[in-house]
């Protein structure tokens, strides 16, 4: 049994003579909420692209959901959930159609799709708007739907790339509660955010600076270590 959802060693990505990701090493345990932070341009996106099978590392090894990121990229894509800040929902499809579409993409049977659709609609309370195009939904609901859809194939790990940019403070909190729920049920959550208060909601947080992981620990330990009151202060001390 593999106890880690992600296991990365010396992971490096170079573009020409520019090293975007510089030998990063870390593990993420199953059921953990792992915050992946860094300033713009620190290499977060490049690192994440390697983890989700979209980009091949120049050096180093990595396993995600038990698959080798160098040789099993396709299996990783099928085995993980991914949600980006641009929510990859189809705006002119209805709520129901979006769920069915993604169910189909991930190879669920018709029966599974029907079951999953009911489950998601029930959980999110979306029956009222089931036949509305997604475009008509408020941002916060699109976000919850996008999150649900990213887990339609029941992946053991979900990658959330700045999932809460610009959303209402209430909605942001509701969203984090669903994250807690999922983690509580054993799903691993890998999340990037620019909201430093959200960093505090994570079990552990890594902070990337110029391609390297400069700090990695629980928010409490990081605050102690950097003699700071908040994660915002920690971040400023490290990244500035």
């Amino acid at each position: 049994m593999n106890e880690y959802a992600i296991k990365v060693e010396g992971l490096t990505k170079r573009f020409g003579d520019f090293t975007a990701v510089d030998a990063i090493t870390f593990n993420v345990s199953k059921g953990e909420i792992f915050g992946f932070l860094g300033a713009n341009g620190a290499g977060k996106t490049t690192a994440m692209r390697m983890l989700i099978g979209l980009s091949k590392p120049t050096e180093g090894t990595g396993y995600v959901a038990g698959f080798d990121i160098r040789t099993e990229a396709e299996k990783i894509k099928k085995g993980i959930g991914y949600m980006s800040q641009k929510f990859s929902l189809y705006n002119d499809l209805t709520v129901k159609e979006n769920i069915r579409f993604y169910g189909g993409i991930y190879g669920l049977s018709k029966k599974q799709i029907t079951k999953k659709t009911t489950e998601i609609m029930e959980e999110l309370g979306l029956f009222e708007v089931a036949k509305k195009p997604v475009a008509a939904l408020p941002l916060g609901w699109k976000q919850r739907l996008a999150f649900a859809v990213s887990m339609v194939h029941d992946p053991e790990i979900v990658f959330l790339d700045e999932p809460t940019g610009g959303v209402d403070p209430h909605v942001r909190r509701q969203f984090w509660e669903t994250i807690y729920q999922q983690a509580d049920a054993g799903r691993t959550i890998f999340v990037t955010t620019h909201y430093m208060d959200e960093a505090e909601y994570c079990d552990r947080v890594s902070i990337m600076v110029a391609g390297k992981v400069e700090a990695l620990d629980s928010p409490d330990n990081l605050k102690n270590q950097y003699d700071s009151e908040t994660m915002d202060e920690v971040f400023l001390k490290l990244a500035r």
Partner: protein, 309 residues
């Protein structure tokens, strides 16, 4: 005369009521924040005030000119940084700046003093194409371009969205310096912590202004007892506190939960209750409300209800 006045502005797009009876004023040398989530109507208000969109109802004036009758005069006197990056991606940093200076009949040199602080940070990259800049640098260039004609009034629509915490802090420091030069600044942001850095703020949601005041006065308008609570398992604590009879509301705030109670309580009392319920590593303290507490208190919780109404 205020730098910006808006009186009873309403605007609808089909059935969507983007702005409903919005009024505000911004003084010269004031940094005024429009604080609210995406879809609150912030950008619509900006577009009306910058003369790019007509309101259905209400009146507004900017730099002493009414927005409809004298829109051309306003356009010479305001700087506008839209939410979407709107510079020429295939022009270099310097070319973009020269372009905007020329359009306004001035030169980079003539107003260099105003942008110097900001421009020196991107000057090392002045030959780089704007499209190839990082998020933080794009934002600085956009601000320079909005300032190059020495505007009286500056409109910044979500300048820090998607920008990391370090660049955000630097950006706000720049705004403080600009304000001291007498420029009126209307800035919108979805980040509640940035509200604290404004002289006055208006909280906006679903096209309506919930309240306008200084951050300090807004904070003290929150009258319920408020405590910051923490324990080993945050999620379980959240669920536990939600069921407690003394709880009015409980919401996550970074490492702590903010617990608002029906009556004033001794923190020890709450601690004892949590002890009894089996929580460990309990920390609790009485706190003052933040702007975000106030926003959460005033705003509606259910987006879907509001949208389908």
């Amino acid at each position: 005369m205020s730098a910006i006045t808006a009186a009873h502005i309403s605007k609808s797009f089909g059935e969507v009521r983007a702005l409903q009876d919005v009024s505000l004023s911004v003084e010269h040398g004031e940094l005024f924040g429009l604080i609210g989530p995406d879809g609150a109507g912030k950008s619509t208000l900006f577009r009306i005030l910058t003369t790019l969109l007509l309101a259905d109802e209400g009146e507004a004036s900017v730099a002493g000119h009414p927005v409809v009758k004298e829109y051309k005069k306003i356009r010479r006197k305001v700087g506008y940084m839209p939410g979407k990056f709107s510079l020429y991606q295939d022009l270099s940093v310097q070319e973009n700046l020269t372009f905007f200076a020329t359009i306004f009949g001035t030169t980079i040199e003539a107003n260099y003093e105003l942008i110097q602080d900001i421009y020196v940070q991107i000057e090392p990259f002045k030959t780089r194409l704007a499209g190839k800049l990082s998020g933080g640098m794009k934002q600085k260039l956009a601000l320079c371009c909005a300032l190059i004609h020495k505007p009286e009034v500056l409109f910044l629509d979500e300048p820090t969205t998607g920008v990391d915490a370090v660049s955000r802090k630097e950006f706000w420091e720049m705004l403080q310096r600009l304000k001291e030069k007498g420029i009126a600044i209307l800035v919108s942001t979805p980040y509640m912590d940035e509200a604290e850095l404004c002289d006055r703020i208006a909280l906006i949601q679903h096209g309506k202004i919930l309240q306008t005041d200084s951050p300090a006065r807004l904070r003290t308008s929150y009258t319920h007892p408020l405590y910051a609570v923490k324990a080993a398992d945050t999620y379980r604590l959240l669920k536990g506190l939600r069921e407690a009879i003394y709880t009015r509301s409980v919401l996550p705030f970074g490492g702590f939960l903010h617990l608002s109670t029906r009556d004033i309580m001794d923190p020890e009392q709450i601690k004892n209750d949590l002890d009894r319920k089996g929580f460990s590593n309990i920390e609790i303290k009485k706190i003052e409300a933040t702007v975000e507490d106030v926003f959460l208190e005033l705003s509606e919780t259910d987006e879907l209800k509001t949208a389908t109404r």
